[in-house]
């Protein structure tokens, strides 16, 4: 048992995961507090899934420590099933069971009484408005439905630490919205901690308490969405659209440093202090007569994320190889 900070549920200390000739995680450090939702963002191949699979006890770390609720999982692996529930990027469901059986049995395997497993299964199916799928064999469901079932089976029993690796992939907007709402309730009402890997930065922005950005196996940015946005807040976007039947000379667009977003929309990312000058520049350029509307957009978490991952990543380790 380690000396545990009362508020820290998960500590990852100097974690390394080496495959044949590269590090998927390199000297990675991270903490997750009780009752907190931590969003883990990063480009494909950054090491997010490798990290969460190590925390869930699936992958063996090459070096470093993972401490859950004060226990090092290497010395005390039984802390994992007691504390964690986890949903992987590739979801597993027992495809020949019915929807209800898979969720109910998972609740039983997590230690719930038959009555409580039944109560929670029905409640969660109702929350997602899919009680009608209760008796369907999982093998006959769509990819999105299977992901919802897998999510419900993951949270049944309500563990202290919930790990979700891209839980909303394949889900329609209605069910994504239900899932985010449910996660908020779990955090607010029972103070479970949630480690959320997602590419859906825009939707996660209103949900997460803190964000960690992982690149090349290391946490490069960590803070509240507000802090990350404020780091990137010097940048804002000028978005303008032109009439669709007008061909804008390419050299005019290039001269302004604009980037084409779609057939009629262009965007320029600028620092705040030069915003006025750039607007003036656009309005006095030869494309002014073609502009239909123009907007100034302040940065979102998605912008802060894009800004963070576009920063040159140089820690002196040549590609961490």
């Amino acid at each position: 048992m380690y000396l545990k900070d009362e508020k820290t549920l998960l500590q990852v200390v100097g974690l390394y995961k080496k495959y044949d000739d590269y590090y998927a995680n390199y000297d990675l450090n991270l903490s997750l507090f009780e009752g907190e939702i931590l969003g883990l963002l990063g480009p494909n191949g950054a090491g997010k899934t490798t990290l969460v699979r190590q925390i869930s006890g699936i992958l063996k770390p090459s070096a470093g420590e993972i401490i859950i609720d004060g226990y090092n999982i290497e010395d005390c692996p039984e802390i994992i099933p007691k504390t964690i529930c986890s949903m992987g990027q590739l979801v597993y469901t027992h495809r020949n069971l019915t929807v209800y059986e898979h969720i109910y049995y998972t609740g039983i395997l997590r230690g719930l009484s038959t009555k409580s497993a039944d109560e929670q299964s029905i409640y969660l199916l109702e929350r997602f408005n899919i009680l009608n799928l209760k008796n369907r064999i999982i093998d006959t469901l769509s990819g999105g439905e299977i992901r919802i079932i897998s999510f419900i089976a993951t949270i049944i029993g309500f563990r202290k630490l919930i790990i979700l690796d891209e839980p909303t992939n394949d889900m329609d907007p209605e069910h994504r919205s239900i899932l985010w709402k449910l996660l908020k309730e779990i955090r607010d009402e029972i103070q479970s901690s949630i480690l959320l890997v997602t590419h859906n930065v825009a939707e996660a922005e209103s949900l997460v308490d803190r964000v960690a950005i992982i690149q090349k196996g290391q946490i490069t940015h960590l803070g509240t969405p507000k802090e990350l946005i404020s780091k990137a807040s010097n940048m804002c976007r000028i978005v303008f659209s032109v009439y669709h039947d007008i061909a804008i000379p390419q050299h005019s667009i290039e001269n302004l440093g604009a980037v084409k977003v779609d057939s009629t929309t262009y965007q320029i990312v600028v620092a705040r202090e030069v915003l006025k000058e750039r607007i003036k520049e656009i309005l006095t350029s030869d494309i002014n007569p073609y502009i239909r509307d123009i907007q100034i957009l302040l940065p979102s978490l998605a912008d802060a994320y894009l800004y963070s991952v576009s920063e040159k990543y140089d820690n002196g380790e040549e590609g961490l190889v």
Binding site: R53, S56, G57, I58, L59, K60, E78, I80, P81, K82, I84, C85, S86, G88, L90, V91, Y92, H94, N96, L97, E101, Y105, T106, I108, L109, R110, G111, L112, S113, T114, K115, S116, E119, Q120, Y123, I137, D139, G157, F158, L182, E185, I186, E189, I190
Partner: protein, 258 residues
């Protein structure tokens, strides 16, 4: 109802009830595989031993002694190596589809999962053993008897090589590789033991090697059972193999990937 109320209403089972119910749930889940393909599974366990039996009958003829070897050999191949084969493949598939990610965060023992899959393989095989026995007794007119030890051996023999199946499934890269390796291991285990061949016909080296394979004891116990006697010693040795398998699975089987 709120999440808070749902959680505070939740009741948890005692540890002893937990173990039993977990095992039952895992066995039921394993059997659910039969929902969609029970006909196919049944055909697989039936056609292979019956066709092999017919093949041996054509070559060996109605020599009672040799046909008892053919009969018992078929049963051993199905229950011991067939179970190992099925376990290796099931675990290979589980690894490939990230099934262990699901089970690793549940408070269940690895041993429970193995018992569930072996029980499924054993029970699926029972009709085929019965049909083989009936064909031998009534169609081929062999001088064989049903002895309770036959049922005992059929039930425990599948567990004796479970550790090998688990090892192959866990160490293989994917289901395809697990399938190939189990197909290679199966004939080795069958043909180095007196399963289809009498011990007297085995080369001296194989005769010694055979002692470390449970297939030898399963074959001897089944032959004795078919001849009407209860072979306690072979059954006891099979139990020791089961015990070794279970201990290895519990102590050394790691779901984690390096």
């Amino acid at each position: 109802m709120t999440i808070k109320e749902l959680k505070s209403n939740a009741l948890y089972r005692s540890q002893n009830k937990l173990k039993l119910l977990n095992q039952w749930v895992l066995i039921k889940s394993a059997f659910a595989d039969l929902r969609l393909n029970w006909k196919f599974s049944f055909l697989v366990v039936l056609i292979s031993p019956i066709s092999f039996l017919a093949f041996l009958y054509i070559f060996v003829g109605d020599n009672n002694n040799y046909m008892i070897y053919a009969l018992s050999g078929n049963m051993v191949m199905s229950m011991v190596t067939g179970t190992m084969l099925s376990l290796g493949q099931e675990f290979g598939v589980l690894k490939e589809i990230r099934g262990f990610d699901f089970y690793a965060v549940l408070p269940i023992r690895r041993f429970n999962l193995v018992v569930a899959y072996v029980t499924k393989a054993t029970i699926i095989g029972l009709p085929s053993y019965l049909i083989i026995f009936l064909i031998g007794k009534y169609l081929l007119k062999l001088d064989v008897y049903f002895n309770i030890s036959l049922l005992l051996v059929l039930l425990i023999a599948g567990y004796s090589l479970s550790a090998v199946g688990v090892f192959i499934g866990l160490r293989s890269r994917d289901a395809k590789q697990a399938n190939i390796i189990t197909q290679i291991v199966q004939p080795i285990i069958v043909f180095v033991s007196p399963v289809f061949i009498p011990e007297s016909a085995l080369p001296p080296l194989l005769l010694y090697i055979a002692h470390i394979f449970p297939t030898r004891y399963a074959a001897i116990a089944i032959r004795n059972a078919l001849e009407g006697s209860f072979d306690w010693i072979s059954i006891l040795v099979l139990c020791v193999f089961c015990l070794i398998s279970f201990i290895w699975i519990e102590k050394h089987m790691d779901w984690r990937i390096n």
